[in-house]
């Protein structure tokens, strides 16, 4: 990194990535007067545009090749430049040991079979039960659900020691997982209320930490997109962040100033791509990002390796480099497109990924979709239903945009086929009113059961997202509880106690 300029200039916009740019041509300064006049004469009547791609690249490259022999380029990179560019774009830059390590980490949260599902459910439920609002132990709290003491908790196969029911208003939520995939989860959360469900949702979106590219130092960029644009795109690439919970925020890291050299708070990435003389457009993707830490890399890179591992097991170490090329070719993971390069254009940069949360910037949010719905409770009025003709029933069933109701073919009774498909759009209620059958159906939302849908960006698994969210939520509540350890709730007490 001998070319690095000493003075860094941080971009003023804090919401975006910071962009640093090294001076290419500014190395050999000459007296301004002389140069100015010389250029003036030289270009009189002519036009020189500095963004002209061929020109700029030509100059920049010539300089670089001379000063910097290929010391930093990896063997894989060499192949890329000299030969099969097509293969090399899909290369995942990880060593074989890293891959094995990654596989170990992954297999821990891999779910197979009903036993494991039950374990997961119990764990989530236990964690949820441990989330306690600050006032709960005091027993005089005016938050809506605490007004009436809840029924005694149902017996659950949990080893958790719980306090006596009379002394606490603590509830014991139940969790049932309907579907759990790597990046998708659907589960029911019962015996709790909206505040808890929504707190979980909010934390999942905004406060579960991940790792994302935060600082980009651009060495050469002759592509059509400008520096900030590329930095922004890099920031939005999801990186595998299983280790993020254990990392430090670089602002809290005493060991370094978050410059990428510190293993506790940041990860350095390198990207170097150049479209060679072939006429084909070069697509620079997230697969071209080379990480210095095997735990953190672009998500689809990790996934490509994982898939390839499943495909064929025994690889010998020596041919790993070739295998890696094959890996991404076979699995067809093309990576996330960053920029397309035309012949002669080049992109070379260093990026530093840091830990962060979605509250600071959406690029750190691990959540693609986090939402819940209230479970509907649907009750028919038998009396009104009996008065309806079959045609009336049919047209009423048809009026629902989603398939919630149907007619029993034998008894010609209206039945609920899928209560959860009801979207609370009131269409059926309006239809019943319009047909002169008001009160045919009564639909209420259950106040204490929620159906969650969670999808992640791939940075962490859906399971990790849920568990980490609960951990973060508990940490936050602990922080509040610490404040009222001496019995003085302060402002919070005034809010909660209503006094």
């Amino acid at each position: 990194m001998s070319m690095r300029k000493e003075s860094k200039q941080d971009s003023p916009s804090s919401s975006c990535n910071e962009v640093e740019r090294r001076s290419e041509a500014g190395k050999n300064r000459q007296p301004t007067v002389a140069r100015w006049r010389e250029m003036g004469r030289g270009f009189a009547g002519g036009l020189q545009t500095r963004t002209e791609p061929h020109l700029a690249v030509g100059v920049a490259l010539a300089g670089h090749d001379r000063k910097q022999p290929a010391t930093r380029s990896s063997p894989a990179r060499e192949t890329a430049v000299t030969g099969s560019r097509f293969l090399a774009t899909r290369v995942a830059y990880l060593s074989w040991e890293d891959v094995n390590q990654l596989r170990k980490v992954k297999s821990k949260v891999w779910l197979r079979g009903i036993d494991e599902q039950l374990t997961v459910e119990t764990r989530i439920a236990d964690e949820m039960a441990r989330v306690r609002w600050p006032g709960e132990t005091l027993g005089t709290i005016g938050v809506s659900h605490h007004l009436t003491p809840p029924p005694p908790p149902p017996p659950r196969p949990s080893e958790m020691d719980r306090p006596a029911a009379a002394a606490s208003y603590q509830r014991f939520p139940r969790v049932r997982i309907r579907e759990l995939k790597d990046d998708y989860a659907k589960f029911e959360l019962r015996d709790t209320d909206a505040s808890m469900a929504n707190a979980l949702r909010r934390v999942m979106i905004a406060e579960v930490p991940t790792v994302a590219i935060d600082l980009v130092e651009i060495e050469v960029n002759s592509s059509v997109l400008n520096d900030e644009f590329i930095a922004h795109r890099l920031g939005l690439i999801p990186l595998t962040s299983a280790a993020a919970m254990g990392m430090r925020f670089s602002r809290d890291c005493d060991a370094c100033d978050g410059d990428g050299s510190c293993e506790y708070c940041s990860v350095e990435f390198h990207l170097s791509a150049r479209a060679t003389d072939s006429d084909q457009t070069l697509q620079v993707t997230s697969n071209d990002l080379r990480s210095t830490d095997p735990k953190v890399c672009a998500v689809d890179q990790a996934r490509a390796i994982q898939q390839a591992l499943g495909a064929s097991e025994p690889y010998d170490h020596a041919s790993a480099a070739d295998q890696r090329q094959v890996v991404s070719c076979i699995t067809g993971f093309r990576g996330i497109l960053i920029v397309k390069l035309r012949r002669g254009q080049e992109l070379r940069l260093r990026a530093i990924a840091r830990k962060g949360i979605g509250k600071d910037h959406a690029k750190w949010s691990p959540a693609a979709t986090v939402t819940f719905m209230y479970e509907p409770e649907i009750r028919f009025s038998e009396e009104i239903m009996d008065k309806m003709t079959l045609d009336e029933k049919r047209s009423w069933v048809q009026s629902s945009p989603t398939k919630v109701f149907d007619i029993d073919p034998n008894s010609h009774q209206l039945v609920v086929v899928d209560a959860e498909a009801y979207t609370y759009d009131d269409e059926v209620i309006k239809k019943a009113d319009a047909m002169g059958r008001p009160g045919l159906v009564e639909i209420n939302a259950k106040e204490d059961s929620f159906i969650f849908t969670v999808e992640t960006t791939g940075a962490i698994t859906a399971y990790e997202l849920i568990m980490n969210a609960i951990t973060v939520l508990r940490q936050k509540l602990d922080a509040v509880r610490l404040q009222d350890d001496d019995g003085d709730l302060g402002e919070l007490g005034a809010h909660l106690g209503g006094s």
Partner: protein, 330 residues
Amino acid sequence: MQSKRGRVDSLDSDGLPYVGASLQSGDIVIGKVTESGEDHSEKLKHTEKGMVEKVVLSANHDGVNVANVTLRQSRSLCVGDKFASMHGQKGVVGLLDSQENFPFTRQGIVPDMVINPHGFPTRQTPGQLLEAALGKGIALGGTSRYATPFTTPSLDVITEQLHRAGFSRWGGESVLNGQTGERTRALVFMGPTFYQRLTHMAEDKVKFRNTGPVHPLTRQPVEDKKRFGGVKFGEMERDCMLAHGAAANLHERLFMLSDFSQMHICQSCQRVANVIERDVDRWKKLRGPYCPFCRSAENIVRINVPYGAKLLYQELFCMGICLKFETEFR
């Protein structure tokens, strides 16, 4: 090469910045020096900053050099930025909030933008509602349709399409409050709409000053934003202050903080006494207010008066009209 006028870190040896350099307001953007060594460098104005996008060095037919530096800025959205839909429904961002605070549907859809429905009855732009409703149905698996003013899909087509896609016929959706997790009572109309950001951005319009340049003639603060001027306190604002009875405030705003000045009045003849240097005797000269009409330096008082009033006096005086000032001690 150094310059006393501003920062030159980003300039190359030819006096032009390199492409990609980050220039702040006040930095030198084009370094120019005459043959005698005099610095004629071009500085960025206080409203200008950005990254260098393009540098052009050229010349016109007379052989005069022309240097052109183009800057670019990335501007993230902020309160006060203006947006408009295709139907002329323009508006300004009033609140920026994070995703978790926004309402969300059971599918997890969070709106990008929430607008006030009261803008529709008065502005008569049902087109935007149709665009959203039709677009929603199409996005959810409908077929693409002509939606020119000449071939408009009927309302039935739009509602039927939405119904087939599993949504309420009129595009309303039940949403949940992002802050509490509770359901809202009303259905909220949601749909995709084309929105454009207009170039009227808060960052360009922000205008403030405490002290700064004044107009050379009137000595009142200038109004121009480019020249670091202030916000005008006009007649209507004045009326407002009067109505409130805030006389002291008004006095401060329009006089003390504007064009405060003092002049001398000769109480004998009620004319202005100028400060001049006159001979007291052969050796001594004295500088002070002197009434040329009374030929005396006695009985002269100093009054506070807006510079504008003094200017008026002088202009009338030029035309042969002399104003008289009645003054009294208080």
